[in-house]
């Protein structure tokens, strides 16, 4: 193959890949991906979750769909969106890890809103897995997300119920709280609340989708907690 032809090939090929990059190049769309990593959602639910007007969210979903990152299932009045492929979460994860590692602004923003998290050192997924039998695992996401899938053995205590249900938790066993992702605030808040009351608590560094992607044990539905 000669050079101009090869150039055209590369240009077109990389143009296709760049479509995906472009789709990932917007904060709202990344938020949508993070929410969708928890499971299927309607447009309205997404709009509620990310705090944008519905028309706006719909527009961003069209972009994600055009890049083949999400798929829709229509059910009566509702359009139920979900991630089209586990690789979509993988790509977001790669991007997120890169940002966390390289952008000092990420640290700065996290520190400004959550304070210095390093003092409550987090457990990573591999570490939790090893100690799964020795700790109480607390899922602080909304119950519907827990039911759609959770760390095996975890208890569902949605963040807004935690204060009222503290007495269910043991003080002599370490508690590991987790949430949607590494930047999900509920887990941090739960840890802070628990520590304030004398519990031994830490957060899982990552979120449920990260855990599942590693192939670590999960369960669905059920009542526990």
């Amino acid at each position: 193959m000669n050079t101009p032809k090869k150039r055209a090939f590369k240009a077109r090929l990389f143009g296709e890949f760049a479509r995906i990059g472009k789709a990932l190049g917007n904060p709202h769309r990344l938020q949508l991906i993070e929410v969708l990593a928890q499971g299927e959602r309607t447009v309205e639910q997404l709009a509620e979750d990310v705090g944008s007007p519905v028309a706006n969210v719909s527009q961003h979903l069209q972009v994600l769909k055009a890049a083949m990152l999400v798929s829709v299932r229509r059910e009566g009045l509702y359009a139920r969106y979900s991630l089209a492929d586990p690789r979509v979460f993988r790509a977001w994860q790669a991007l997120r890890d890169l940002g966390q590692a390289r952008l000092s602004e990420v640290d700065a923003v996290v520190a400004e809103y959550l304070g210095d998290r390093s003092k409550f050192e987090a457990v990573d997924a591999a570490g939790l897995r090893r100690r799964l039998e020795d700790v109480v695992v607390l899922d602080v996401r909304p119950r519907s997300e827990f039911e759609a899938g959770h760390i095996r053995g975890a208890r569902s205590v949605p963040h807004d119920e935690l204060a009222a249900r503290l007495r269910e938790l043991p003080k002599d066993v370490e508690i590991v709280a987790y949430c949607r992702g590494p930047y999900c605030v509920f887990a941090d808040e739960a840890v802070a609340a628990l520590r304030a009351k004398g519990y031994r608590a830490r957060r899982l560094a990552e979120g449920y989708p990260d855990w599942r992607l590693r192939g670590f044990p999960v369960a669905t539905g059920g009542e526990r907690g």
Copy 2:
């Protein structure tokens, strides 16, 4: 943390991640990343490699630098750029895999320029690794890239020397050719040329950076081939 504050937090945080997405959202920049995954380059070398004007490449490099994806080392007149972190390649890889899996256009473009590659079934990295002792591994990249790092035991036969050096290669042993990446045309051309002359040849599905990232055996410098 209350909801408006949480919203602001998420917006700023995801805004940071989106900076990286944006930087990955342009075909030229993705090409630059692919070339830089082979090793350090000056602006002029990059311009030559991707076939764009130097000022243009410089501008894109500024964008990549602002997103902390590349770093520069200044040496006299030259600015030597390289990937700032192995995670940058990982992110590009995630994006590439996603595109390959999900975008039918990728298949279409590849088929249009390279024909249907599936008939020469490629070896994947894990497969090659297992059979490393049983095949001849052919590095068809320019010699300087081979010297900067190659699959351990590989022979350097740059694509433009292959025709003249066919006789060095054995006909009774399978030959596995590799290149910069899964879409690097030289490996396909080498396989086609070898097969046409009666050699048993296949290509490695991925490229050298993928091999190295997996932690498979590599070597640098040296003469072999």
